[in-house]
């Protein structure tokens, strides 16, 4: 069965006819040639396919595209402002936060979504229990590792990924 859907992808309106079985990830990569999100496991286990869907980070491999008609999708390729990299992208360069780069677009989208969650006062499993903490709290290493645990890196660049995210989170909430 096929359906026509329209997505806002990285700022442009894209209309495409998809089989209902097509995931958002496959629609982006195979139908719209938006190859920033990567396919790692295809089962929600690695985070390589992470995109921002209506502003929230999600695994695009577990979403049927047909269910997202009208949605706004931001991939790592859509984060920069013209020639100016997004602060999270810049931090990944500054801190050497990758080796092969395969997990990187997913890591970067996840970090952008995660920083917004933290700025909104959302807790993680390592946040002290009780009423919401001060939203402006700087994320320490434990918080970053816990909140980013949905993104695996087979090259093991974790130490520098954490450093990159710290660079942004300590720079202030304005990202």
């Amino acid at each position: 069965m096929e359906a026509e859907i329209t997505l806002d992808v990285d700022g442009s309106r894209r209309t495409v006819t998809v089989d209902t079985r097509t995931t958002l990830l496959d629609a982006l990569r195979d139908r719209l040639a938006v190859t920033a999100p990567k396919k790692g496991c295809d089962h929600g286990q690695c985070g390589a396919c992470t995109v921002l869907l209506d502003g929230r980070r999600v695994n695009s491999c577990l979403i049927f595209a047909v269910a997202q008609d009208g949605a706004e999708v931001t991939t790592a390729a859509g984060l920069a402002d013209g020639e100016t990299l997004h602060p999270v992208q810049q931090a990944f360069l500054d801190q050497d936060a990758f080796q092969c780069g395969y997990c990187t677009p997913g890591q970067i989208c996840s970090a952008v979504g995660m920083l917004a969650e933290a700025a909104a006062g959302q807790p993680s499993a390592v946040t002290a229990a009780g009423p919401p903490a001060n939203a402006a709290t700087t994320l320490d290493e434990d918080e970053i590792r816990e909140r980013m645990s949905g993104n695996l890196c087979r090259c093991g660049a974790y130490a520098n990924i954490v450093a990159a995210i710290r660079q942004v989170s300590t720079a202030g909430p304005d990202v």
Binding site: M1, T20, R57, L62, E117, S124, T127, S149, G150
Partner: protein, 337 residues
């Protein structure tokens, strides 16, 4: 993957009627379990009815001081809700211990309750599994059973229910509101999931076409003294080997500094041990009126685990549950709230 039709439901009654009228149809919520199963070839619906526009996404206070949680409230939003965090910490913690930030943004309250076991054989269509293919046998019985049940299992299935959230809800005496073809009914979360018996293909007591519309949390002021402990192979992003959801009310809560507090009542549910969230009624009974000491905690754990039945690769779960329960009860009764 088998081709399927997709429709977005706009009313609860309409969604229920579409599913009830087609044995091959399924509700689609966050999709994090169902889409995975369709890729694995272990679910093959010919119609998906998307329920995410049904406006079941509110958390609201009920007249009696409890909470009503819409079935489509996302796991991340429920965990972050200020009333959940302050009144029912065990629920917020259980949610945050599950899956990943991305998955919690997608997963819904209803879908989380109805997620299916992570038994590796269940998820592998090439192996015998009574839950997936009734009558084909249980591969886990002679196979890899590290994650499998130690309580309430049957010769036909030794799988466990994987939900962290469901454990917290069982401990909190939550109930689910179900909209079925015959109308609405309410049942306790503790009665939602089944033990496998000779029908392991049935995870819950729900019938085809039953839609969970909300979860009700009763008022429980002393649930402020509650917590969730999850023991797993990795520090994060892994299913539970075992877990403990617990709330404790002390006699004279807050008073009598210096003396050993006495437990008035406790609510305990165990995860990773059974085909359903395991409400530990025997441990609760053992704790009622008992002094909050290591001895009492250990005896309570032993009372609950006396019926445990293990195999070589999951026998470790008995001491693991016991230690986790003792440690949780210690933490809950030592800290003043």
């Amino acid at each position: 993957m088998k081709p399927f039709d997709y429709r977005r439901a706009t009313t609860v009654d309409g969604a229920v009627a579409e599913i009830a009228g087609n044995p091959q149809a399924a509700f689609l919520a966050g999709g994090t379990n169902l889409v995975d199963h369709m890729k694995l070839g272990i679910a093959s619906p010919d119609l998906l009815v998307d329920i995410t526009s049904l406006q079941l996404d509110d958390v609201a206070e009920t007249g009696d001081g409890g909470l009503r949680i819409g079935a489509n409230v996302r796991n991340s939003d429920l965990a972050a809700h200020p009333l959940v965090r302050s009144r029912y910490p065990v629920l917020s913690q259980a949610l945050l211990s599950g899956a990943s930030g991305q998955l919690r943004n997608m997963a819904t309250t209803g879908g989380n309750l109805l997620q299916r076991t992570r038994c590796v054989y269940f998820q592998d269509a090439s192996t015998p599994c009574n839950k997936r293919t009734p009558g084909s046998g249980c591969s886990a019985r002679e196979g890899y059973a590290r994650y499998h049940a130690i309580l309430g299992a049957s010769p036909d299935c030794i799988a466990v229910h994987p939900s962290d959230m469901a454990c917290a809800l069982a401990a909190l005496d939550a109930s689910v509101v179900v909209h079925g073809p015959a109308g609405e009914r309410t049942l306790a979360v503790a009665d939602l999931h089944r033990l496998p018996g000779d029908r392991p293909d049935r995870d819950t007591v729900l019938d085809h076409g039953d839609l969970i519309t909300s979860v009700l949390l009763p008022p429980l002021p002393w649930a402020r003294r509650s917590t969730y402990r999850k023991v797993r192979d990795r520090a994060s992003y892994a299913f539970a080997l075992v877990s403990v959801a617990a709330a404790v009310e002390l006699e004279d809560d807050g008073g009598n500094a210096g003396s050993v507090p006495v437990i008035r009542q406790a609510r305990i549910a165990l995860g990773g041990v059974a085909h359903k969230p395991w409400r530990a009624a025997l441990a609760e009974a053992a704790l009622q009126g008992a002094p909050a000491t290591q001895d009492s905690f250990r005896r309570a754990a032993e009372a609950e685990l006396a019926a445990a039945s293990t195999r070589a690769d999951n026998a470790f779960k008995v001491p693991m549950v016991s230690n986790a329960l003792v440690s949780v009860l210690h933490d809950l009764t030592q800290e003043s709230s």
